[in-house]
């Protein structure tokens, strides 16, 4: 029985958090008027597996708590109790509480006893029952027998524990498939024997006639009498692995070791729905005890926070297929290489083309492993809308589209917070109160839509609401009074709406608990920018606001335009390249004798000579007739003067910071086909440098504070 469970603990946490997300989204979907049975079932199943897992790991506080939720859910599911908004809210806060408990255990922290008891009390109120412990008549048991493990109301505790002095009477009725699960009753009995004197009595009444006997099924049941001074938990521990596959009753033996009076026969003693199994140590689980198992995990040296990713088996199968093809191509090529003659040149070329195709496919598919559907990021949003709109007395319908759109896991993790912020903003600032909407001739229910889709090499996320929109004039007035925009100057709408990303600017007159302090949008923008993405706003007063985020699918591969300055190759991201052109000397002008600008598309773009910015020796200094790449970042254009344009190719981004420092104007490096390193330019950084910004590498802060953001 001494299996080291700690190795599975991490998986348990991951699965539990996923289960909690499922519960949360299910509960939010639930329409009190017409509760969907399947949704309720899903929520119930998620709760049930968390309870089961917690029991296995001896996290009694968690399994006790989940048991209450499960009980309530079961009643709702069976229609014994109506699905009310209150019940849903209580369950939602229970989900939060449970998430907190699990997180605390995972991080070896103390449990928040107050929060737990509050949530428990709310659950109990919903169950309409006096605190657990006092007997409540158990509802009749479902038809499927004990193993369905449905909750049976309040477990009749109080009758059992504490009476272990005289030993235990155990009724053990395994399911027929017991042997198939690798369990052998004999070993269980031996384990019991280790605890003390054991009497075993087999009950063959379940045996079929001989000709129908299947030796691979277990048709026997047993009654055991254990004469040992151990507590119930120790006995339960023996049956820990079989309790889901058996009906188990454990009662204290009478003083004289006689049969105990049967109590509450109505299935109440089914172990899996009853008390949680005891922790491995065999100590009786004390109420509210969550620290013990946590401490044990700590001892196991758990590298708790290693991040992992769940990958579809399909994706892995595809990879294996591709590697198989690669191997075939390789052996074909080596065959050609061994007996190469000039006639086989074509064959060799074909082979190389195939190799290229294989490599590209393999690369694409390896990248796909890191891709996860955006629904993970969506999952928190309905709750935010639900809570915020309730608190603000607004009625909001929230629609999510494109949940299956995939993006890189790292990108996704970093975009969750900005999305939460934007959606909350939409509820708070965007959508009006029902009366106001009615007065404006709009439906009282506001609509917020979030949509994700792929476009080119980017993923686009749009958050749209049909609320009041941004008051353009008010925003402009605020910006003027804050000195951000000069008096009297007119700005295009785009730039005005862009002002909402400016720190400290909010059009909301009153800050609410949820938003309106003007902090946030600038952080959102910064986060998006740090993922090399873009964010823009469209709004029309009274009609609504749409915020569009554009993000790269992955952070590690980039389509680049290669070019050369001096003896070095550089790369610019292809998405930033607007045009490559030959410089017409007649279109070059100078501003104050120094700054060079180029007349391009009815405007002027500043020219940057990379060799000057980077202080290197160029091949060509003369602008006229030379080559220039027009690049763009956030609608700011720059003409980069280069010696020579090379290929466009996909490059793998490597960090310069990993072993060195962050360098202005440089986004990273890559390794070219010949094994040498080429630098990837950071357009935003270049623009800043060209305006006289910082050039020297950034020195990280001395304190390693992660809270800088």
């Amino acid at each position: 029985m001494s299996v080291d469970l700690s190795q599975f603990l991490q998986t348990f946490f991951e699965e539990s958090f996923e289960g909690l997300d499922t519960m949360e989204s299910g509960l939010l979907e639930l329409d009190p008027a017409q509760p969907d049975a399947e949704t309720l079932n899903n929520v119930f199943r998620a709760a049930h597996s968390i309870k089961g897992g917690a029991g296995t790991f001896g996290l009694s506080a968690v399994s006790d708590f989940t048991h209450r939720m499960e009980t309530l859910l079961d009643r709702l599911r069976d229609g014994k109790q109506a699905v009310t908004p209150d019940a849903v809210n209580v369950l939602l806060s229970a989900v939060d509480c449970l998430r907190g408990m699990l997180a605390a255990i995972q991080n070896d922290q103390a449990l928040d006893a107050d929060a737990i008891s509050t949530a428990q009390r709310q659950l109990d109120e919903q169950l309409g029952q006096v605190p657990a412990g006092d007997a409540v008549p158990a509802p009749p048991q479902g038809a499927g027998g004990g193993h369905t493990a449905g909750p049976e109301g309040t477990p009749p505790r109080g009758s059992g524990p504490g009476g272990g002095g005289g030993g235990w009477w155990i009724r053990f009725e395994p399911q027929p498939h017991l042997f198939a699960t690798g369990n052998d009753p004999r070993r269980l009995f031996q384990a019991l024997q280790d605890l003390g004197e054991l009497e075993v009595e087999a009950d063959p009444s379940g045996l079929p006639p001989f000709e129908q006997l299947d030796p691979e099924t277990c048709q026997l049941a047993w009654t055991l009498r254990l004469h040992a001074d151990v507590d119930e938990a120790a006995v339960r521990e023996v049956f820990e692995w079989v309790e889901d596959d058996a009906r188990l009753e454990i009662r204290p033996l009478g003083a004289a070791g006689t049969e105990p009076a049967p109590v509450a026969e109505a299935g109440s003693a089914v172990a899996s729905a009853d008390e949680p199994p005891a922790p491995g140590g065999g100590a009786a689980p004390a109420a509210g005890d969550g620290r013990k198992p946590a401490a044990r995990r700590g001892n196991a040296g758990g590298g708790g926070n290693s991040s992992s990713i769940r990958v579809d088996t399909e994706k892995i199968d595809a990879l294996i297929d591709m590697v198989g093809e690669l191997v075939i191509t390789q052996s074909m090529l080596s065959q050609i290489g061994k007996e190469f003659t000039a006639e086989r040149l074509e064959e060799l070329q074909d082979g190389l083309a195939q190799l290229e195709r294989n490599t590209r496919e393999l690369q694409e598919n390896v990248m796909r492993i890191r891709m996860v559907p955006i629904s993970f990021a969506y999952s928190r949003l309905p709750r935010i809308v639900h809570d915020t709109s309730r608190a603000l007395g607004k009625v909001v319908e929230f629609q999510m589209e494109g949940e299956q759109t995939e993006l890189d896991k790292t990108v996704m993790e970093k975009i969750i917070d900005p999305l939460v912020h934007l959606v909350r903003n939409s509820v708070d600032h965007g959508i009006e109160a029902p009366e106001e909407r009615a007065a404006a001739g709009k439906p009282e229910t506001g609509t917020i839509t979030i949509e994700a889709y792929h476009k080119g090499g980017n993923i686009i996320i749009e958050i749209a609401d049909d609320g009041r929109g941004i008051n353009r004039d008010k925003l402009l007035a605020k910006a003027r009074s804050a000195g951000l925009v000069e008096d009297g100057s007119e700005l295009p709408d785009e730039q005005i709406y862009d002002l909402i990303f400016h720190p400290g600017l909010s059009t909301h007159d009153q800050a609410t608990e949820y938003s309106g302090r003007g902090v946030g949008m600038d952080v959102v923008k910064r986060n998006v920018r740090s993922l090399s993405g873009n964010i823009s706003v469209r709004s029309s007063h009274g009609q609504g606001t749409t915020i569009t985020i554009s993000l790269p699918l992955t952070l590690s591969i980039l389509d680049g335009q290669l070019f050369r300055v001096g003896d070095q190759t550089y790369i610019v991201p292809l998405v930033s390249v607007i045009e490559s052109l030959q410089v017409d000397a007649g279109k070059v002008s100078r501003v104050t004798g120094r700054g060079e600008v180029y007349h391009w598309r009815e405007g002027y773009v500043p020219i940057v000579r990379l060799h000057e910015l980077f202080d290197t020796e160029p091949v060509r200094r003369e602008l006229g007739g030379g080559l220039m790449v027009i690049v763009e970042d956030e609608e700011t254009y720059l003409g980069v003067f280069v010696d020579d344009l090379l290929d466009q190719q996909q490059v793998v981004i490597k960090s310069l910071e990993a072993n060195y420092l962050q360098v202005p104007g440089i986004a990273g490096a890559t390794i070219l086909g010949d094994g040498t390193v080429a630098l990837i330019l950071d357009i935003a950084g270049l623009i800043e440098m060209s305006r006289g910004g910082r050039r020297q590498p950034y020195i990280p802060e001395r304190e390693d504070s992660d809270e800088a953001a």
Binding site: Q568, L613, F614, D615, T616, K654, S655, L656, A658, N659, Y660, L661, V663, P664, G665, I666, A669, I671, G675, T676, V677, A678, L679, R695, Q696, P697, Y698, I699, P700, E701, R702, D704
Partner: protein
């Protein structure tokens, strides 16, 4: 790929072989029992040592990709089996006259621990490898003070070999701190420190 990992002929094959094969474990254990081992190399007339446990590998000089707007002694970055690693010229770092690189120029790849416990790999360009010495901690004397204005924090101490030769033991973490990698120091002062500390070396500059 194999090209750059094998990278060139080493100046002193014998020592490189002794190092590359991870020295005899028996020797290493012996050494651990009675002191720490230091890999020494020369810059001009001077001999410097670094903790051998910080040395990851030794490579020949290969073409680097320069990084713009960095101190001149940061020669650039190379591809070390798929990671990007900076290469620092120690001669230039100490303000000595620069030297032509040849296929005998040696790059010592060292592990540097920087702020926040981050471990980084960096290459040090040196003239030639010298020896592997074992020093007891009491054999390493603190470097003399050269006044408050002079930085000596990257010199862990001075050790003497055979009563005549001095080895300057470097603290790579201090030598290659973030500030040093980002902003060119006043090299003449560092050069002074080195010159004053070393027995020879007047002819460099």
């Amino acid at each position: 790929m194999s090209q750059d990992s094998e990278a060139g002929t080493l100046g002193e094959d014998r020592k490189a072989a002794a190092l590359g094969s991870g020295a005899d474990t028996v020797d290493a254990m012996q050494a651990a029992a009675d002191g720490d081992q230091y890999l020494t190399f020369t810059l001009g007339e001077e001999e410097y040592g670094v903790d051998i446990l910080r040395v990851q590998e030794i490579k020949g000089w290969q073409r680097v990709t320069p990084i713009p707007n960095t101190p001149h002694y940061v020669k650039g970055v190379i591809n070390l089996r798929g990671t990007i690693v900076p290469v620092i010229d120690l001669r230039e770092r100490f303000g000595m006259s620069a030297q032509e690189y040849s296929k005998f120029t040696v790059v010592v790849m060292v592990r540097v621990l920087s702020t926040g416990g981050r471990e980084r790999i960096m290459g040090l360009v040196v003239d030639a490898l010298s020896e592997v010495y074992t020093f007891q901690s009491e054999q390493i004397r603190p470097a003399p003070e050269f006044g408050a204005a002079l930085r000596t924090n990257f010199i862990r101490g001075l050790a003497t070999v055979d009563d005549s030769k001095m080895v300057i033991i470097l603290d790579v973490d201090e030598l290659l701190s973030d500030e040093d990698l980002a902003i060119a120091d006043d090299q003449s002062r560092i050069a002074e420190v080195v010159r004053a500390a070393g027995p020879g070396g007047q002819d460099h500059e």
